[in-house]
Every structure is written in structure tokens, then in C-alpha cells.
């Protein structure tokens, strides 16, 4: 064991007298005991909380978009909150297209054994962007990239916001949006043509290509093929 080792123990801030965690039972649809952090956010950030609900025992705090980064930073840093674990970042679009898109952060406070869902509402028609929490949680990197990939929501401040699951040249749009048909935007024949024309192993981003010094010496035609991921060798 190294000298500097200090383990992180879930529930450590609760003290030894705290009741052990138990499986929740008979949870009401609405109401029930709320996570005290919801109240704390409302006090700390006056006017930033749009609404707070308890649905199926889970506390949901809908906050103002402009202040969500400050709120999450405060939840992470404040010794009475210590939300040190980011479970998930995702978005929800409703079938009712009038309803705003929700961006959802699922936060856990390991020392206090709390779970909190923070939401931001994005009105349709305006630009879909929210601040990135990558500077607070490194784990948000891929989660935010996936959310951008699937919903087209821009996380401002993310250092490397590229498509993650779809390829970079993917032109059909954002698959998890409700106006995106289940079969995709392009016809089957067009999708097949593009799939056959692509050579995934020859697809490098510009950044990766800059690693190879020899790239500059390649013929222009080959450089173009490599950068666009076209099939090579036939």
C-alpha cells in the first residue's frame, strides 16, 4: 500500500450512527421525502430553480440553463453536498413536439449516499446548447459527446465535441430526435452505397493524421482518401 492512499468510502459523511441504506419500498408516484439538496439549491441560488419534484421517490430539480454549471459546480464542491459522482448525462425529447427538450444530469453523492437529478429545459426553435460539466467531472467527456451525437445538443466548453457513436461524416442528422424516422433519413440504397464506399479503418481525424510526420510527404490524392475515409486499395 502506498503512503498517500486514502480510499473513497460511500456513506462516509453520514457517520457511524446513520441507518444503513435499505431497498426503497412502496414508493408513491408523487411526493414523499425529498432529497435535502433540492432545498439547498433553492436557497443558495435564488431564482435559479424552475421547479422541484419528487417522482417515484427520485428528486428532480429543474434549473435555469444559465446557472446550471454554477449549480453543479457548487453541488460538487460544497462540503454539505459533495456530489462527486456523475452517473449520466442525457437528454429527453417528448412526442409532444411543443414540449421543450430536457437535458438530464444524474448525480450521486457517494459520501452522503444521495441521488439527485438535475434538469435544464431547452425550448425548441432556439439554439440547443448547455454548458459542459467536463471541467468538473472528467467522466462527462463521452457522455456529452454521445448526447451531442444523438440529439445535436452543443455542450459549450467541451474540449473535443465530436460525434462518438456515428461516424464524423454522418449526414442524416441526430438519430434520437423525434423527427428522425426509425429507418433513418436516407433511403436504404443510399445508406448501403455509403456503407460500402466507406473504409472505417482508413478513417482518421485531422488531429490523428497530424501525429504522423510522414503524412505530409504522402501524395495529395492519398491524403484526400485517408482524410475522407474512402475505400483504398481497389
Amino acid at each position: 500500500m502506498s503512503d498517500s492512499f486514502t480510499p473513497v468510502v460511500a456513506g462516509s459523511a453520514l457517520g457511524s450512527k446513520a441507518a444503513p441504506a435499505v431497498t426503497p419500498k412502496n414508493i408513491p408516484n408523487r411526493g414523499g421525502p425529498a432529497n435535502p439538496s433540492a432545498q439547498a439549491i433553492a436557497q443558495q441560488f435564488a431564482g435559479a430553480v424552475v421547479r422541484a419534484d419528487v417522482i417515484w421517490g427520485e428528486t428532480i430539480v429543474v434549473v435555469d440553463r444559465a446557472r446550471v454549471h454554477d449549480i453543479i459546480q457548487w453541488l460538487h464542491d460544497d462540503p454539505s453536498q459533495r456530489y462527486d459522482y456523475l452517473s449520466d448525462v442525457t437528454a429527453v425529447e417528448f412526442r409532444d413536439l411543443e414540449q421543450p427538450i430536457e437535458v438530464v444530469w444524474q448525480l450521486r453523492s457517494l459520501p452522503y449516499r444521495r441521488f439527485l437529478r438535475v434538469k435544464v429545459l431547452l425550448e425548441k426553435g432556439a439554439t440547443l446548447d448547455v454548458p459542459s460539466v467536463w471541467d468538473i467531472y472528467k467522466g462527462a467527456d463521452w457522455l456529452e459527446r454521445e448526447c451531442y451525437d444523438m440529439f445535436g445538443i452543443t455542450f459549450t466548453g467541451h474540449p473535443d465535441l465530436r460525434r462518438l457513436l456515428m461516424w464524423e461524416q454522418y449526414a442524416e442528422g441526430y438519430p434520437l430526435r423525434k423527427d428522425f424516422p426509425l429507418r433513418g433519413r436516407f433511403s436504404r440504397s443510399e445508406q448501403l452505397r455509403q456503407a460500402l464506399a466507406a473504409n472505417p479503418e482508413a478513417r482518421y481525424s485531422k488531429e490523428e493524421l497530424s501525429i504522423a510526420d510522414a503524412f505530409e510527404d504522402l501524395p495529395a490524392e492519398m491524403k484526400r482518401r485517408l482524410a475522407t475515409g474512402e475505400r483504398t486499395g481497389e
Binding site: 460511500a10 414508493i27 429527453v92 425529447e93 504522423a212
Partner: protein, 437 residues
């Protein structure tokens, strides 16, 4: 990056038998006094940024990437300077498809994401959907689900163990692990009829009750399995080659592990005592007696030790579950979600209506949302479901543990050798089906 030094007593069981008749364990590396010598982590070379760097592409079709992961590595000599992972080759849009399916129809899709943990995924989805419906499952169902979760944890860890051993150069433990895995698949086959893609649960219950014969097989498995774990332990844990290839690689400190969102054995090996079963319990896990193993160094070797111990703890939980399995119904007595017996469908008006409504429309949860997480073999597996009151979810989000764990690979491989990338990648326990969904 500084590497941590640690002492592991290295032994090999190659010569002779000891007093108990087991292979004698002699130190593999000894100093002049005959004492075992500590194997230190391989030195990580400070990259020389002025030198010419090389671009190496591993994958997407490479056996050591455990699926279709592609790693683009920038190398300085043999040292990794930067690693850019590419995923998405298996992307099938599970979350999109889920928005077009009724709740029970989604359960087969959950089999196919993390296909080493199908029963566990089924349970996770059923728990999430039941919270959305406001249903409390029966006592027997609860214990059966605990059994399913722990069986799939053993399957997943065995596959991880076997494939990682192969990656690092040991073949025998792979065969032993897959033999045991086969026994669990036989039990699952007797239970539900399928082996890999089980579709074990339904909203409000299980697809089938556990037959008595399968329960006996499970009891026999629980009896014999710890011996196999001990055997693998004996062959691998103190093996000089194994230790030399795993110690000190991919170190994550506890704070880093939490910040990167690591969960499961990955986080616990780094010294983060976080287990969803203990800290945010479900299925009455707080009433089972089991320990959560926690590592101290957060390297590949610690992840191996944690998973080995989890195999033993899962066996303990299975033992208790077999003992406490109560009699009684498996499915809830709620015909909003569970079909009445088929024989009644043609003789009882109300049952026929329930059959018609459920098959044609599907069960409808009230408006609401739920995030239910459980401890899958890879970490915190969460299902976030949003309902607008119709029979299909508005949003079905999978929180894939190995996706978040893999996102830290760039951080973990930096400064290590190219050959260690394989060991570090194996230690994450990735299933690309879950990462790409």
C-alpha cells in the same frame, strides 16, 4: 507519470508436492538468501516530444480489443504518448428502437447489449419498469432475481478472467473458466429455455419459475465452484509472468476513479468502496451477508484480485438465496401487467378483456420517470425511463458502465508500453455491445 511500487510475493507451482499433497510453491525470483523478490512495475519512460512519433492503429477487428474497439495510438518508440479510442462500430440504436416498443417487448433488447450479463440486464429493466408502473414484486420473485443477477455476475467475471488470461498469455484458466460458465448456462437453459439471450424477466414477474431440478443443479454448482476459483487463484495469482504483466499498469487513484465516473470492479480496485448493492440497495440486498472487496493500488492486478473475490462473494450470495427461496407466486397479482392464465381467457369475460388489452395495447404506466441502477458485473448499470402515459416509453436510456469505464482508457494507457495497452484494455472488462448499443 510516476508508477507505484508494490510488493507481490511471486511463486510458481512447478516442482514437487507440499505436505498437503498440493503442488509446492517455490519463489519464482529469489535473492541470494532465497527470499522472494518483489516485482516492480515496468518503468514508464518519459516521452520525448521532439522525437519522431508513430501512429499505430489497433482494431476495429483485433482479437485483443474484445470486440470492435479501435484504438489509434501515438507512440514514441514503444511508449504510448496519446490514445484516441474510436467506438460505434456496433451501434444499433437500441434506445431509438425502445421508443417504438412496449415495455415487455424491450426486454429481449436488453439481452443483446451486455450479452454476458443478460439475466442481470433483464432484472434491471424489469426493476425500472416496475418502479414506473408502481408495482411491488413478490418475495419469491425477489430472491429469484437475486439468483439471476449473481449467476450472470459469475458468468461475466469468468468470461473476463478467461479472455484476459488469454490476452496475457495463459491458456489453461480460460478452459477452466468456460467449463464453469457452461454449468451456469445449463441451469439458465433449464430455467427459461435460452442460454445467452435469456429474456428472463417480465414487468411484474419472471418469464418462468425456477424448476426444482435447476435449483438442485445450482446448489451443486455453488458447492463445487469455490474449489475451481481456488484452483485458478493458485495458478494465476502468484504467477511470475502474470504479476509481471499486470502490476503497476493503468493506475487510477481513488479521486480520479470517482471523477472519471468509474464504477464496479474498476472503481473498487482503485479504493473506492462504492457498490450499488450496498449503497443504493435494491432487491433487499442489504439482508444478504456479503463483502465488497476493495483494492489499494488501482492497477490491473488489483482489478483481477477484486473480480476473483467477487466470484467468491457471489457464490456466498447464491448460497443464501438458495436457502431463503420462499414458496409462493412469482408474478404479481395485477392483471394490468401480468396476463391471467390462458385457460381463463376463453371462459372468463374479464380475463379475456385483460388478454386483449395487454396484447393489443400493452400495459400503460402513469406519467413519470425513473432511474434504476443496479450493480452489473461491469459497474453501475442504469436504466432511465420516461413515460408520457402511453404504452411505449418516450425515452429509454441505458447508462452503460463499460462505456464510462472505457472513456478513461486514454488516461490509463498514457506512458505505458504498447504491449501493456492490451492488458489495460482487458482489465476494463468491456463488452462492445453495451458500449455501442
Amino acid at each position: 507519470m510516476a508508477t507505484k511500487k508494490r510488493t507481490v510475493e511471486v511463486e510458481l507451482s512447478t516442482t514437487g508436492l507440499d505436505a498437503e499433497g498440493r503442488p509446492k510453491r517455490v519463489p519464482f525470483v529469489v535473492d541470494e538468501n532465497g527470499a522472494p523478490v518483489a516485482v516492480e512495475a515496468p518503468p514508464s519512460i518519459e516521452p520525448d516530444l521532439d522525437a519522431e512519433h508513430m501512429l499505430i492503429n489497433i482494431g476495429p477487428q483485433h482479437p485483443a480489443t474484445h470486440g470492435v474497439l479501435r484504438l489509434v495510438l501515438e507512440l514514441d518508440g514503444e511508449t504510448v504518448v496519446r490514445c484516441i479510442p474510436h467506438i460505434g462500430y456496433l451501434h444499433c440504436g437500441f434506445e431509438k428502437i425502445g421508443e417504438y416498443r412496449q415495455y415487455n417487448q424491450i426486454i429481449p433488447w436488453t439481452d443483446r447489449e451486455d450479452y454476458l450479463n443478460s439475466p442481470g440486464n433483464n432484472v434491471a429493466f424489469a426493476l425500472g419498469a416496475e418502479r414506473l408502473f408502481g408495482i411491488e414484486m413478490t418475495e419469491r420473485c425477489k430472491v429469484l432475481r437475486v439468483m439471476a443477477c449473481e449467476m450472470s455476475r459469475i458468468i461475466s467475471h469468468l468470461v473476463w478472467l478467461g479472455t484476459t488470461c488469454i490476452d496475457i498469455g495463459a491458456f489453461t484458466p480460460f478452459l477452466w473458466a468456460f467449463q464453469q460458465r457452461e454449468r451456469i448456462y445449463n441451469i439458465l437453459e433449464a430455467w427459461i429455455g435460452a442460454r445467452l439471450t435469456t429474456t428472463l424477466t417480465r414487468v411484474g414477474g419472471m418469464g418462468a419459475d425456477l424448476p426444482d431440478a435447476a435449483l438442485e443443479h445450482l446448489a451443486a454448482f455453488v458447492n463445487g465452484f469455490p474449489k475451481v476459483v481456488d484452483e485458478i487463484d493458485r495458478v494465476v495469482t502468484r504467477n511470475g509472468i502474470w504479476v509481471g504483466r499486470t502490476v503497476g499498469l493503468g493506475v487510477m487513484s481513488p479521486e480520479e476513479a470517482v471523477n472519471y465516473g468509474l464504477s464496479g470492479p474498476m472503481a473498487r480496485a482503485s479504493g473506492v468502496a462504492f457498490d450499488v448493492r450496498k449503497d443504493f440497495p435494491y432487491l433487499d440486498y442489504e439482508t444478504y451477508d456479503f463483502d465488497v472487496p476493495v483494492g489499494t493500488n488501482g492497477d490491473v492486478y488489483d482489478r483481477f484480485l477484486v473480480r476473483m473475490e467477487e466470484l467468491r462473494q457471489s457464490t456466498r450470495i447464491l448460497e443464501q438465496a438458495i436457502k431463503r427461496l420462499p414458496d409462493g407466486p412469482v408474478n404479481v397479482d395485477d392483471h394490468r401487467v401480468i396476463l391471467p392464465p390462458k385457460s381463463k381467457a376463453t371462459s372468463d369475460m374479464e380475463s379475456m378483456i385483460h388478454h386483449f388489452k395487454q396484447v393489443m395495447e400493452g400495459p400503460r404506466p402513469p406519467i413519470g420517470e425513473s432511474y434504476v441502477a443496479l450493480e452489473s458485473p461491469k459497474g453501475e448499470k442504469g436504466y432511465y425511463m420516461v413515460s408520457d402515459g402511453s404504452s411505449k416509453p418516450v425515452r429509454w436510456r441505458i447508462r452503460p458502465p463499460s462505456f464510462v469505464n472505457l472513456s478513461a482508457i486514454s488516461r490509463m494507457v498514457e506512458g505505458h508500453l504498447l504491449s501493456d495497452v492490451i492488458a489495460i484494455n482487458a482489465s476494463i472488462d468491456i463488452v462492445m455491445g453495451e458500449i455501442d448499443r
